[in-house]
Symmetry: D3
Subunit: 136 residues, 6 copies
Amino acid sequence: MTTMLPRPDLESDARVKAVFDDIRATRNTDFINNMWRWLAFDPALLERTWTEVKAVIGKPSSIDPLTKEMIYIAVSVANNCTYCVHSHTAAARAKGLTGEQYGELLAIIGLAGKTNQLATAMQIPVDPAFDASQQG
Amino acid sequence: MTTMLPRPDLESDARVKAVFDDIRATRNTDFINNMWRWLAFDPALLERTWTEVKAVIGKPSSIDPLTKEMIYIAVSVANNCTYCVHSHTAAARAKGLTGEQYGELLAIIGLAGKTNQLATAMQIPVDPAFDASQQG
Amino acid sequence: MTTMLPRPDLESDARVKAVFDDIRATRNTDFINNMWRWLAFDPALLERTWTEVKAVIGKPSSIDPLTKEMIYIAVSVANNCTYCVHSHTAAARAKGLTGEQYGELLAIIGLAGKTNQLATAMQIPVDPAFDASQQG
Amino acid sequence: MTTMLPRPDLESDARVKAVFDDIRATRNTDFINNMWRWLAFDPALLERTWTEVKAVIGKPSSIDPLTKEMIYIAVSVANNCTYCVHSHTAAARAKGLTGEQYGELLAIIGLAGKTNQLATAMQIPVDPAFDASQQG
Amino acid sequence: MTTMLPRPDLESDARVKAVFDDIRATRNTDFINNMWRWLAFDPALLERTWTEVKAVIGKPSSIDPLTKEMIYIAVSVANNCTYCVHSHTAAARAKGLTGEQYGELLAIIGLAGKTNQLATAMQIPVDPAFDASQQG
Amino acid sequence: MTTMLPRPDLESDARVKAVFDDIRATRNTDFINNMWRWLAFDPALLERTWTEVKAVIGKPSSIDPLTKEMIYIAVSVANNCTYCVHSHTAAARAKGLTGEQYGELLAIIGLAGKTNQLATAMQIPVDPAFDASQQG
């Protein structure tokens, strides 16, 4: 089920075609996943989102590609985004996530989910040692 | 503000003292942060939580210590746990998080927050290519 | 999948029938969507919920009907309620939501999702200028 | 910090005074907690909310008063409502919550937070045995 | 859809078999629900999670078994875990949840969802009377 | 409390100064709120975020400025972002939000919070009439 359906002829829009061409070239595949096909109904939103994904995820940087995907999975699980959990778990596997790492990733996400609730339930005061505004 | 206050003499309970001693020995510091002091009112809960933290976060494994903290921050931000965001950002810094990495971590968390909402808003169907149950 | 099934003869209960009759009369349609059919197992809960929906959404007021639906969609996306995202997107379309407005609505929801995470991640202090208790 | 301040003379509004009088009579105390003082700027919203609280929480029913407060705490923790965690933990204590029960409540909330994340992360399919629509 | 599939021969792993045997013995049934079958890919995570579930949910304690399930449902709804809502609603029914109690449980969860949002929207200050650190 | 502090001389960085100058010119005020001062530690993240805010919120479009702020508040409340609730409630007031509209906005957000939980708790199936993929 979905709240909208993409038009069949998405790439008849020149702005959409330009983004899709760039996705294909950047990823070296003909596969355009549904995220981009659904966003295409609003070409400005599509362009901005793809540009940001390329800037944040697509470039060599101080965080390695697999770690980026693990962080993306962690946020998507906590925000409960079904689509994103699926797409980024697939992406992490494509970038080399092993079964052992997947088990550890789940263990960290699960433990964080638990301690998040415990700290919120008791409204534990933040230790002054953790507060940047108290540091010299 | 908090929903409860730890007793002043926490370590008069032998089970609490044993956990605190292990925290001090494991971390090589006298500092016991508030999470453990608040959990101490229920020694069984304290023991189980510390044992799990040691198993998941405290051991050399297939995910490196800094990456573990970045994943923990990501979940804590998405779950909106003030205490945990503070404590794990401090821990990440202690494990070497640079300003450049922090900026990238924020960029990934922010982008994930955005695309999570977009995918949920449109209820985008999961591509069959991402579904493990459709794979050979 | 669902956790419960409505009885086949819901309207044999007089309280349920009265609410359903009012829904049909208010909306000028015979269609009773599943929200009301599922709530009907507890007539008091059904009555309270429908009365509140009529008071909050169903009356002319200082916020126009389409804006109300956009706000409802925004909350439902952030809370990740699949049923509510579907039902209120359909309602917004019935009240005239255009494709252009839908694109903008998604852009705002997505941007808010991103800046919400950024502000939480850095635990940005609220500017005194925004705090009502500091104002003259 | 707050986004608004109640007027000093809240009870000069007859509808507000009537609700506050009913709160005092129902609870047998002069203390009106901030939730009601803040809602008073919109008397219709105040009336509807108090009426619902009385119907759901304030009447003898098939769930005992302390259990109701534990459920309220559980939702408030998962939704991360600071005000509500504080007010309902205080209410649970007033209704007899023991330290032992508080520890167990936290343990359940924490465990649920963890298994919620694990099930979402793996997108575990619901067992047909749990689906009401599959049952005879 | 799921992000992973359990291997067909899960119990060929001795650690998995030991946990599954204990689940069958503890629950007095041959039925192993999907949560455990999915976790089995990481035997350490499976063992830790089952041990915690037994300690928190499976033992006689100061909170009765049905109340534990109602609290578990409440957290799972607020965290939006489809799998967990289904499995714990089924468990609550197996432990005697009546239709009347289910209606009340929903009413409390719904009301808490509403007042959580109201308190957060107005950023209502916590009454000093609720703050443990202000108490004598 | 905060996880980081902005450097005192933020505008000595030319990219930061250019964004801050544009914020001042666009908003016709010298006031730079903390969101921008905190993001400034990573000039690329600052630039991307401000550019997106200008494109989504700052331009005349098919959704009027006050409605945009109400949608922003709705998402921020549901995501529980203290900073964002404060800053966008202040922005909505600056754009003319009346007390009557604020009361209605809260009523919609609260009602949505409630029905979101009810629909999730019962896992209500989406009516085929709401599903775009079923439409002709």
